[in-house]
């Protein structure tokens, strides 16, 4: 028996955060959930539809195609950016003035607004006046990313690699810098080759930052929108219509709010699931030891 009444005023201190999270996350997400189970013909009239939209999306070949394109795109950029980023980080000087110069150069692409990146690459790749497009054609390659799906894909991948490899480089570089010199000295004394040093010292010590790098690059590349829409607009045809581009077409182009909402939720769950799988696979070894 304390005889005291509990003071509930502390709840007021939590309120700002609760409101903030509610307005920027919970309420918008619940709005989407709300839309995903209803049909509308405009004029703010809604009819309950249940899981119809989910069934429709999951069975639609349009969604399957977009998902396949998305998975392929993410797989390609991860397969290029992670090894390339690690290789660049290994090649960068570890100390001295040049290391700062390299770091600044590496950070540059990350500082450019995403739509500017798209616009830059669009102009850069234009077959008639762009430096890249014009040069390729002058060299005898038939290159036109506005008409050839393969050219559009290559340009899109090149742009993403240019824009985002730096992130992997910076993370890998941070991981490498954290390795004490004694490890390299011991390896030298043990007669380890450069490849053995990479396999048994650098790679294991970089594991954690690389995990972060892979997760970030996976999520970002899976949600890519701005750069791609500015560069190719999803074309030619639907060849570069990645999930987010397709989603915006459905939601704002066709104003099919219900199917678009259902698709966003499925899209969100796929990212969540795949991120979890990545994380679980990559941390499996640590859990064992």
């Amino acid at each position: 028996m304390s005889g005291r009444t509990p003071n509930q005023k502390a709840w007021w201190l939590v309120m700002p955060v609760v409101l903030l999270v509610a307005f920027n996350a919970v309420i918008p997400l619940m709005t989407v959930v709300n839309y995903s189970v209803q049909e509308t013909f405009g004029d703010n009239q809604f009819f309950f539809e249940g899981v119809t939209w989910f069934e429709q999306i999951l069975h639609s070949s349009r969604f399957h195609d977009a998902l396949e394109r998305q998975l392929l795109f993410t797989a390609i950029v991860l397969a290029i950016e992670v090894p390339l980023g690690v290789a660049i980080a290994l090649a960068m000087p570890r100390s001295g003035a040049w290391s700062s110069v390299c770091l600044v150069l590496m950070a540059m692409p990350l500082l450019i607004p995403w739509n500017v990146v798209g616009a830059m690459w669009n102009i850069f790749a234009l077959p008639d006046i762009g430096l890249l497009g014009h040069s390729l054609n002058a060299l005898g390659f038939d290159y036109n990313f506005t008409r050839q799906p393969l050219a559009a894909w290559s340009t899109l991948v090149a742009m993403d690699v240019w824009h985002w490899t730096s992130l992997v480089v910076l993370l890998a570089y941070a991981g490498l810098s954290a390795i004490p010199t004694a490890f390299y000295q011991a390896a030298k004394i043990d007669g380890a080759s450069a490849w053995a040093v990479f396999c048994y010292i650098q790679l294991p010590k970089m594991k954690r930052v690389l995990m972060i790098a892979v997760l970030l690059r996976f999520m970002d590349s899976f949600m890519i929108y701005t750069e791609a829409i500015v560069l190719t607009g999803g074309g030619p045809g639907n060849s570069t219509s990645l999930l987010s581009i397709d989603l915006v077409k459905i939601a704002l182009g066709q104003f099919d709010l219900g199917p678009a909402a259902a698709m966003s939720l499925i899209y969100f769950l796929i990212i969540l699931l795949l991120s979890w799988v990545f994380y679980a696979v990559m941390t499996r070894d640590e859990a064992q030891s």
Binding site: Q185, A186, I189, G191
Partner: protein, 359 residues
């Protein structure tokens, strides 16, 4: 196994050293006999790790040469010198098992599989790692990891010297003692030349047959633990080694007699002359000071009990003199006098001991 000689060695981390203080390692010569246990002792930043890295080949000295037996190895990289080194922080290859860690240096050198297996098991047994061979090295405690680092040196049958760079820094106190006696045992058993860097005098004095004391990039004395204790070459050795350190008192010297505050003192080694203008000091360890019926009059300031003996701090004018007194010896109540044991009382000029060897 090899005898290691350092000839005319000097090192600076600056490309163009100008001032004397630019040298991380000042010029010196030294030989570590084959099969000896040596320690490099000194405070942080005294150049002992620099010296170690010069011997191991991780650092190329600015001047001078390094010899293993009759071979000049100054320009050889570490892996060509057949040395092993244990670092301050345990270095293990995290993704490998204990077995693979130990086998790594042998496999890199193309040793045959069954020979690798034999050596790894033999060394693991020696280091009490026998039952952990299949475990991942990353899961071991700090002392286990440090044993692996040491084991990677021991497995190689061709090792010239094993070097230790403050290897017990991250080990728990009670395990420190065990690992240290293990090292001592391995040295006796294998007879490999060992060089042990530390700033801890207990570690150095208990491990090594010969201790090299360094200060400020300079070798101040190299000798047995007894030498360092009884005949400090430099006042630095006097106060760095021993607990409490040596008493250092201002002195004068004329007519062949050293005096402290007007009291003439007999010395262990009598110099004929001393450098003009040098700062003179009398050095005597607290162990060699005793109360007597006459001598230097002092007052007793403080008595600290250290178990088997007491540390007594006395004062003569502005100078404090410490001495050790046995636990059951009575202390004089008033008008105390001190006597210095002449055989262990030395005169130092600008820090360096004057006069030849006592005897």
């Amino acid at each position: 196994m090899a005898r290691i000689s350092l000839k005319n060695l000097r090192h600076s981390y600056r490309p163009v050293p100008s001032a004397e203080s630019d040298w991380a390692l000042k010029r010196f010569e030294m030989t570590f006999p084959d099969g000896s246990a040596n320690a490099l002792l000194g405070p942080s930043g005294c150049g002992k790790t620099t010296l170690l890295n010069v011997i191991s080949g991780l650092l190329k000295p600015s001047e001078g040469s390094v010899w293993f037996d009759d071979r000049d190895v100054t320009l050889l990289p570490p892996d060509a010198r057949q040395i092993a080194q244990v670092f301050q922080f345990p270095v293990v290859y995290d993704t490998m098992s204990v077995y693979d860690n130990l086998a790594f240096p042998l496999r890199n050198r193309g040793v045959a599989g069954n020979e690798v297996d034999r050596r790894v098991r033999e060394i693991a047994e020696m280091l009490d790692l026998g039952d952990m061979l299949d475990r991942k090295a990353s899961g071991l405690t700090a002392d286990g990891k440090q044993k692996i680092s040491l084991g990677r040196g021991l497995v190689r049958s061709d090792v010239n010297v094993i070097m230790f760079d403050e290897p017990l820094t991250v080990i728990d106190p009670e395990l420190k003692w065990r690992l240290r006696s293990k090292l001592k045992e391995l040295h006796r058993r294998l007879g490999i030349t060992m060089i042990y860097v530390t700033h801890d005098q207990t570690e150095a004095l208990t491990f090594a047959d010969s201790v090299v004391v360094m200060n400020d990039g300079q070798v101040v004395q190299a000798g047995t633990p007894v030498d360092l204790f009884e005949r400090p070459q430099h006042t630095f050795v006097g106060h760095f080694i021993g607990s409490p350190g040596m008493n250092l008192l201002p002195a004068t010297f004329d007519g062949g007699v050293a005096r402290f505050a007007g009291h003439a003192l007999r010395l262990g080694a009598n110099p004929a002359t001393v450098p003009a203008g040098a700062e003179l000091q009398i050095g005597v360890r607290p162990e060699f000071v005793s109360f007597a019926g006459s001598g230097i009059p002092v007052s007793i300031e403080k008595v600290a009990d250290a178990g088997r003996f007491r540390v007594v701090e006395t004062r003569h004018g502005e100078f404090s003199i410490r001495l050790l007194v046995g636990e059951d010896m009575p202390l004089p109540s008033e008008s105390a006098f001190l006597q210095f044991d002449a055989a262990f009382t030395y005169l130092y000029a600008d820090g360096w001991r004057q006069g030849g060897e006592p005897g």
